[in-house]
């Protein structure tokens, strides 16, 4: 085929720059994780042995406990509420479809702080109980929130929406025909749910639980606050408490193994049966009409997660914020907000830019190498923030030290920190963590632009970049904004990587919340926490809008 100029270049054999670019970006994302495993291979001798003999077992035990507890919790709440709002009809169903997502807006560490403020000895709940019954400290037992169970509860309350969201989508996608067939073959609605609907939704449920558990492994703020020893707290302690970055890298590598096991388990759970929908016809969902006690139960079952996961903590934060804002919202607060905004905006731009390049090079080259590069780039989401921090900071520090030593030896001047502790380093970390968020959105949007449009533009004399700029970018603009917003909010909420990697004295709202809460100034932290929660509502609103667009073939007013 005779193709002129750039066409031939794109269609040609050999390596084109788009492929190189994609491979380069993928390598950049993979590098911190590779570095962690590389660093972990360096023996640390007696310290590691000491660790292994003392605390390692509790790290492993607590981490597994956390995973099991949160996994069970999010499955029960997520699947139960998703089934109720999609398959049953009861008062408030439409409202619940949306508000069940709200707990996502609250970072785990914030809800942990809030409930501590509400439920500890001097908090309003216990104080009220003592007043009401005339008890004193020794007269009653109250559950200890600062425990493994407490951490599980907090994480479950804010992470169940992942399962809810995916389970709901899965139930909606299922053809109602298969459930009706199951009914005519002698199954009650309940048994149809367990024997047909649930098994069909299994891949989606596995994906939802995996997301929730990745967030669990990523968490540092909650477990640290509740003094539950996990790998996250262990890494932090080894690195900054004991000054042993090598040990931190080893713990980070072990934590990464947990993540890999999780990803593997999800893949395996999908198994051989890929659940193609065998039915393409959509019908009005059956909508089991619930009345009386059953309806009341459904309302309660949907209301409790929303109340505990959002309404109660948000209200508490609002009340405290009103109380303390006059003192806390000052110039320093505005500086924090500006820093948060700056970091989030830079990261969002970087992530969306890289995502567009990756997705577009995949479209242009359609090669396996680029497809693999995109998948690798998307895997960064699985790496916990502290793992990424270790994987970036240690090599960067080593680099800085070498340059510094070299410059001092050669020219007698110190270059200090060139990379570590800069905005570049922390942006890099965010890019690794959140590129997947942007990439998913951009890929989905690009897939909607038919290849014929590319070809039309190309035949009209536009090169790949001009086509991207003049055809794809305008079509994709709403999705790019969505992608940027999602990354922006994730960065605003992010704690562990920011904590380790931010430039010296460069505090953000999240850092401020964490530090004030650490000083037991929970009410003082409320303004900053509330600001984070409010920003966190934005992606929830985006999701809610997508949900309200409904499902194919659904014509109910």
């Amino acid at each position: 085929m005779d193709v002129p100029g750039r066409f031939r270049f794109m269609a040609g054999r050999g390596v084109d720059p788009w492929t190189l670019l994609a491979l380069g970006l993928a390598l950049l994302v993979a590098l911190p994780v590779i570095a962690v495993f590389g660093l972990a291979a360096i023996p640390t001798g007696p310290i590691w042995r000491h660790l292994a003999e003392t605390v390692l077992l509790s790290y492993v035990g607590n981490t597994i406990g956390l995973l099991l507890g949160v996994g069970t919790g999010v499955l029960a709440i997520g699947v139960g509420t998703a089934w109720l709002v999609t398959m049953c009809r009861f008062p408030g169903r439409r409202l619940f479809q949306i508000v069940l997502l709200l707990p996502m807006a609250i970072p785990a560490y914030v809800i942990a702080h809030t409930y501590t403020g509400l439920l500890d000895f001097s908090g309003p709940v216990q104080t009220a109980l003592r007043l009401a019954f005339g008890w004193s400290r020794r007269d009653y037992w109250f559950p200890e929130l600062r425990s493994l169970g407490g951490a599980i509860t907090m994480l479950t309350l804010v992470l169940y929406p992942y399962v809810y969201m995916l389970a709901r989508a899965a139930f909606l996608e299922q053809s109602v025909c298969v459930i009706e067939i199951s009914r005519t073959l002698g199954r009650s609605p309940w048994r149809s749910f367990f024997e047909v609907a649930l098994p069909l939704a299994r891949p989606a449920l596995a994906a939802g639980v995996t997301l929730a558990l990745m967030e669990t492994l990523n968490d540092y703020g909650t477990v640290q606050y509740f003094a539950v020893d996990t790998f996250a707290t262990g890494i932090f302690r080894a690195w900054f408490g004991m000054g042993q970055p090598g040990v931190a890298a080893q713990l980070a590598a072990m934590l990464m193994l947990f993540v890999l096991a999780l990803v593997l388990a999800e893949r395996l759970s999908r198994g051989r049966a890929r659940f193609h929908q065998t039915s393409t016809r959509y019908q009005e969902l059956p909508g089991y009409r619930l009345r009386g006690g059953r309806a009341a139960f459904a309302v309660l079952a949907c209301a409790v997660p929303v109340l505990l996961g959002f309404v109660v903590p948000a209200t508490a934060l609002a009340v405290w914020a009103v109380e303390t804002a006059p003192r806390m919202v000052d110039l320093q607060f505005l500086a924090l907000a500006r820093n948060s905004f700056l970091l989030a905006a830079i990261a969002a731009l970087a992530a969306v830019g890289c995502a567009v390049l990756l997705a577009y090079s995949q479209r242009l080259s359609r090669s396996r190498a680029v497809a693999a590069a995109n998948r690798v780039a998307a895997m960064g989401y699985a790496a916990p923030g502290l793992v990424v921090a270790v994987g970036i900071m240690l090599p960067f520090a080593e680099f800085d030290n070498r340059i510094d030593a070299f410059m001092r030896a050669q020219f007698g001047l110190s270059t200090g920190l060139l990379l570590s502790g800069t905005l570049i380093a922390v942006t890099y970390a965010y890019l690794v963590r959140f590129l997947a968020v942007a990439l998913g959105t951009v890929e989905a949007s690009l897939a909607k632009v038919t290849p014929n449009m590319d070809q039309a533009a190309r035949t009209l004399g536009h090169g790949p970049i001009a086509t991207l700029r003049r055809v794809h970018a305008p079509i994709m603009r709403p999705s790019l904004i969505t992608a940027g917003t999602l990354v922006f909010v994730d960065v605003m909420k992010e704690l562990p990587a920011t904590l380790v990697m931010r430039p010296f004295n460069f505090d953000t709202l999240a850092i401020r919340v964490f530090e004030l809460a650490g000083d037991e100034r929970l009410a003082d932290s409320a303004s900053a926490a509330l600001a984070i929660v409010l920003v966190g509502i934005v992606p929830v609103a985006l999701l809610a809008r997508a949900i309200q667009r409904g499902r194919p073939g659904h014509s109910v007013p």
Binding site: C177, V178, E180, I181, R183, T184, V196, T278
Partner: protein, 361 residues
């Protein structure tokens, strides 16, 4: 009236979706072993009737009896899982998470005995010509194979009544004939009563012992396929079974004049606008014989096409008012006169029907 023997008996079933009357006083009986087709254009309410029979749609008014037992009467609805009906959807709705064997075994709840269960599954797969496919997954099957598995699944628990919702419309036409044929034999062999919904009159005639034609939520005529074809009650039924020629006229002296002579107008009143419906195969054509007697009726050929077993000839005739009529004639075998040839036309009066013109509007 309902008999204990009836597999399905619907009694004045009415159903509304908001303002839309999906079913309006539908009464219908399906006897054991009988295949009844509910035939009608899309949106006529036939699927709603089927879903009410299955218990998938709550009955609003009327009564539903299965095997002589009341399963719904407006105050009470027996849930679908207790009705013992088999159901096959248009898109088959096989369970994608189960292989073929487990799909077919899904309804065999009572078979405690694993061996009996296995045997029944194999028997059913064998009956539908899918023996040996038990380990396949639904997505590995072609459309025709999926349809057969869906049928085996519906019949496995030996239901008294099988409900089929457009079961062949997902198949391409050649495959459809074959699957149809096999389905009819499997159904007849099972002895179950069958209610099938379709919009395809040819399919209904192929499958049905009796056909109920539905329109706007009402059943307009029920009978054997030959009854409906040869003695339609209405222009709608007459026109639903084939393409049909329509001639307009006025009733005069209890008859309507056509180029083929006067036709009895039946009960139509004097001066009423009438429509004469003539099936294309009612028109017999012959070359004009120069030597023979003058034919009673002639027409000019506009075009002639061979359509396989029959030929379609487009004719132009002058009617009594001097206007030109365009008629279609279907002639067995190959009969292809040249354009503008003049042919002799004869009409089989048994296949011409007179109805009020307003019915054809």
């Amino acid at each position: 009236m309902s008999s204990v023997l009836d597999a399905l008996h619907l009694e004045r079933v009415s159903h509304r979706f908001g303002e839309i009357r999906a079913a309006d006083g539908v009464s219908l009986t399906v006897r054991p072993g009988e295949v009844v087709c509910l035939l009608g254009p899309s949106g006529c309410g036939k699927t709603t009737v089927l879903r009410i029979a299955a218990g998938l749609e709550r009955l609003q008014s009327g009564r539903v009896l299965i095997g002589g037992q009341v399963v719904a009467d407006g105050t009470f609805d027996l849930p679908p899982e207790k009705r013992g009906v088999g159901l096959v959807f248009q898109d088959y709705a096989l369970f994608p998470h189960l292989n073929v064997r487990d799909n077919v075994a899904f309804g065999l709840i009572d078979a405690r005995d694993g061996e009996a269960r296995r045997a029944r599954v194999e028997e059913m797969l064998d009956q539908v010509g899918m023996a040996g496919a038990g380990d396949s997954w639904p997505h590995e099957l072609s459309g025709g194979q999926q349809q057969r598995v869906a049928l085996a699944r519906a019949l496995a628990p030996k239901p008294r009544l099988v409900l089929l919702d457009e079961p062949f419309s997902g198949l391409d036409s050649r495959l459809r004939d074959q699957v149809r044929d096999q389905t009819l034999h499997v159904l007849k062999q099972s002895g179950a009563a069958t209610l099938m919904v379709t919009h395809d009159s040819e399919e209904a005639m192929f499958m049905a012992d009796r056909i109920a034609v539905m329109r706007h939520g009402r059943i307009v005529q029920v009978g054997r396929p030959t009854d409906l074809y040869c003695q339609p009650d209405s222009a709608f039924v007459a026109g639903f079974f084939s393409e049909i020629n329509v001639l307009n006229g006025i009733v005069k002296d209890k008859s309507v004049t056509t180029p083929f002579g006067a036709l009895a107008a039946g009960s139509l009143g004097e001066g009423v606008a009438a429509a004469v419906l003539i099936r294309p195969e009612a028109l017999g054509l012959a070359p004009v014989d120069e030597q023979g007697p003058e034919p009673a009726c002639v027409a000019r050929v506009l075009a002639a096409r061979l359509l396989g077993r029959t030929s379609l000839v487009h004719l132009c005739m002058g009617d009594s008012g001097g206007a030109h009529l365009h008629l279609h004639a279907r002639v067995p075998g190959q009969f292809l006169p040249a354009e503008n040839d003049i042919v002799a036309v004869e009409m089989d009066r048994r296949q011409a029907f007179v109805f009020p013109a307003e019915e054809c509007a």
